[in-house]
């Protein structure tokens, strides 16, 4: 973890800095704003310079007009819109100068939907949701289509925006950990980890080794149950009913393991600033996972032999590498489109830098639904290997150290969640309470990318394509 190197930049120099970052092979990660000492908004841009393990931060103070970087780094489009929704900052030259978070209380008019003018005799208009078939999260999708062919697609993802970032303000460190676990339940452990690491970096606390390895165990269990559920859900969308049942049953087994190890099916209440909150019950974990390996392999082998399954995935929802990069795809979605990036390796945290864990990063070049599934399949086996190795080399010692807040400090913390890059930026106030917490969630990034794989495809493939992304709404809406 690093207390970030924060560089002050003049607003007028912002575009040049953004272009330089791009030409030098770096990547933009996110942007957010906070209210500075004099109540004037302060902007932050977080980037990863090429080859650097330390994230870079730009700080822009003063001025309510800032040039938009969305033309240079399209992925910033949503971040800038979200900032403009909450702060008195206008981004000049923004290609989509509309609110992102829908007005609260759903205004009578449809303005917030920002639908394009689409006309034509054969064009059908389908507003779908926010209450949709099945037990799913609420979101509203608008389709314009002709016959089977989708012309245009707009997702509205913020109907369940809860204002979770604001909820942290004024809280103490421990309460913040409870909140972080409740931003996106199926990423609870990664959220707790990224948050805790940010707090630890700000407070300059070194976590005991034993806790670092146990954190790896916890977040890899999270990856495991998420990816197994993902395979089951994907099989369901291809109408492979038994394949669905077997996938979600395997996910259930891991959730039951989670409860035995941490006391929570969602691995909550385990990771906290300073180390771990509880002693894990890992007595038979290695053997239990080993026993699970064979049924998982059998299940995946059967999926591989099912042509009806493969045929629906191959070439579906292609995401070209350039689009994935420009629009900010992350996690398995980015790795399936040829972007070789994984925070566990590129910006190591917890115990991932230990070669004994045998971290491998899966990748694929095709960028279609099949590639996205293949990457996750490879990660399932890799997670089991890493958990077993972490157990084998688990050092003795304490699992937690005190983590007193440091007033006015700030830092970033991150984790490669099952869905990709998750970053917490935390800022303390003068009293040592949380003053600002920004959450960059992987679903926010990947939902931004997803529509690019929907336009000009067909309705039959939509559900499969969406399942192949494995997105959550709560992570996006926060």
């Amino acid at each position: 973890m690093n207390a970030p190197s924060v560089r002050s930049i003049e607003a007028a120099m912002l575009r040049d800095a953004a272009k330089t970052l791009r030409t030098e092979g770096g990547r933009m990660i996110m942007a957010y704003a906070l209210t500075g000492d004099d109540d004037a908004p302060e902007l932050r841009y977080v980037s990863a310079p090429s080859g650097a393990q330390v994230f870079d931060q730009w700080q822009i103070q003063g001025g309510n007009e800032v040039p938009s970087l969305a033309e240079i780094w399209p992925l910033l489009g949503w971040y800038e819109r979200e900032i403009a929704d909450r702060h008195a900052i206008r981004f000049t030259g923004h290609p989509e100068p509309f609110p992102l978070i829908q007005p609260l209380g759903r205004a009578e008019s449809d303005d917030w939907r920002q639908l394009p003018d689409v006309e034509g005799e054969a064009v059908q208009f389908l507003p779908f949701g926010p209450v949709r078939a099945g037990v799913v999260e609420s979101a509203e999708f608008t389709f314009f289509y002709i016959g089977e062919a989708i012309l245009h697609y707009v997702p509205h993802l913020f109907l369940k925006h809860r204002g979770m970032e604001e909820r942290f303000v004024g809280c103490d460190i421990e309460t913040g950990a409870v909140l972080a676990e409740r931003v996106s339940a199926v990423g609870s452990a990664a959220h707790a980890l990224a948050y805790s690491q940010a707090i630890e970096a700000a407070c300059r606390v070194t976590v005991p080794d034993r806790a670092l390895y146990q954190r790896v165990i916890i977040v890899e269990l999270e990856r495991l149950y998420n990816h197994l559920h993902y395979l089951g859900h994907l099989a369901d969308t291809t109408t492979l009913k038994v394949g669905h049942a077997e996938g979600v049953l395997l996910a259930e087994r891991v959730k039951q393991i989670n409860a035995r190890v941490t006391g929570s099916r969602f691995l909550r209440g385990a990771i906290a600033p300073g180390g771990l909150r509880r002693i894990l019950d890992t007595d038979r974990l290695s053997e239990t996972l080993d026993a699970l390996r064979e049924p998982i392999r059998r299940y995946i082998a059967r999926l591989d032999r099912s042509e009806s399954y493969f045929d629906r995935l191959a070439t579906t929802g292609p995401l070209p590498r350039a689009v994935a990069f420009d629009q900010g795809a992350t996690g398995p979605i980015a790795r399936a489109s040829g972007l070789d990036r994984d925070l566990r390796r590129d910006h190591p945290y917890a115990a991932y830098a230990d070669d004994n864990l045998n971290l491998t990063v899966a990748g694929h070049q095709d960028g279609d639904a099949n590639a996205r599934a293949r990457v996750r399949i490879a990660e399932i086996d890799a997670s089991i290997t890493m958990i077993r190795r972490a157990l084998a080399v688990l050092p003795d010692g304490p699992i937690r150290v005190p983590c007193p807040p440091v007033a006015q400090s700030e830092a970033l913390g991150w984790a490669e969640s099952p869905r990709g890059t998750l970053i917490y930026a935390v800022h303390f106030d003068a009293a040592g309470r949380l003053a600002r917490v920004k959450i960059k969630s992987p679903s926010f990034s990947n939902w931004r990318v997803f529509p690019y794989t929907v336009h000009e495809t067909n309705m039959m493939d939509y559900a499969i394509n969406e399942a192949s992304f494995g997105l959550t709404i709560s992570g996006c809406a926060r």
Partner: protein, 262 residues
């Protein structure tokens, strides 16, 4: 495809016999609501109330904490900070109740228990329409788990239905964000009578950890709630027990914030 069916059969039965017969409920090790023994409280101690992120613990007077399980998010913070062991960990998760007051350890006035309305015609076949009104997806994850082969909710005659027109019970998760209020009410209005409402998860029961501003403080501000199930999230076994409680097929286990017989 035919091969999958054969393979599925060959894998054998994965479904537990619980709660109809002997079998695991699947929740071994999972922590539930904290237990409170106020007799052990230290004089003037308010550590639990200060640590609770949702204000579930109120100190009516010294040595008299009142715990509202409807607000509890099972984070175990109170157990961690309690110096005397008055609050302790438990595996108690079956907290479904018909009356909100039954989730509070010392209600201002004890919950009234009029005869439960008869759901005779629905006991063996209940159709549920779920609406996510701003959850963190934990409640959805566990609701989805109900249909995995381990719990296999269908065997109990309980089904999720896509259309509110066919639904008997509206099961709501999340604190109700203002933006989801209208779709939620429209879903309710689309249901035929008789219709019932369940608040599932501590957010729907009380607002839980949800922030003010974009969120309401739970479902009963906007709809008449027939069944409350706190939990963060309620696990699949808790959901099954609550649904069977709703159908009068299982007894309510919690009264006035205490598990019966304990």
């Amino acid at each position: 495809m035919a091969l999958w069916t054969l393979i599925g059969l060959a894998e054998g039965q994965a479904t537990t016999r619980w709660p109809l017969g002997e079998g695991p409920d699947g929740q071994a090790g999972g922590l539930g609501m904290p237990r409170l023994d106020a007799a052990q409280c230290a004089d003037g101690c308010a550590d639990c109330a200060a640590a609770c992120p949702t204000g579930a613990i109120a100190l009516a007077s010294a040595q008299n904490p009142v715990l509202d399980y409807g607000k509890c998010v099972v984070c175990q913070r109170c157990v961690e900070v309690c110096p005397t062991g008055a609050l302790s960990e438990s595996h108690d998760w079956a907290f479904g109740v018909r009356n909100r007051a039954d989730l509070i350890t010392a209600p201002a006035e004890p919950a009234a228990h009029p005869a439960a309305p008869s759901r005779r015609g629905f006991r063996r076949s209940l159709h549920v329409r779920h609406v996510d009104a701003g959850s963190c997806n934990g409640c959805e994850s566990e609701l989805q788990a109900l249909n995995n082969p381990f719990y296999n909710l269908h065997r109990l005659g309980i089904f999720f239905t896509p259309s509110p027109r066919f639904a008997d019970l509206l099961l709501v998760t999340g604190p109700v964000t203002k933006a989801m209020l209208e779709p939620l009410l429209r879903t309710y209005k689309a249901m035929p009578e008789p219709r019932w409402v369940m608040a599932s998860g501590s957010c729907a029961v009380s607002g839980g950890i949800a922030p003010d501003g974009p969120c309401l403080n739970g479902l009963d501000a906007v709809l008449p709630v027939d069944l409350y199930l706190p939990g963060c999230p309620p696990n699949p076994a808790a959901l099954i027990e609550a649904l069977l409680l709703f159908l009068d097929r299982m007894p309510q286990r919690v009264h006035q914030g205490r598990i019966d017989g304990e």
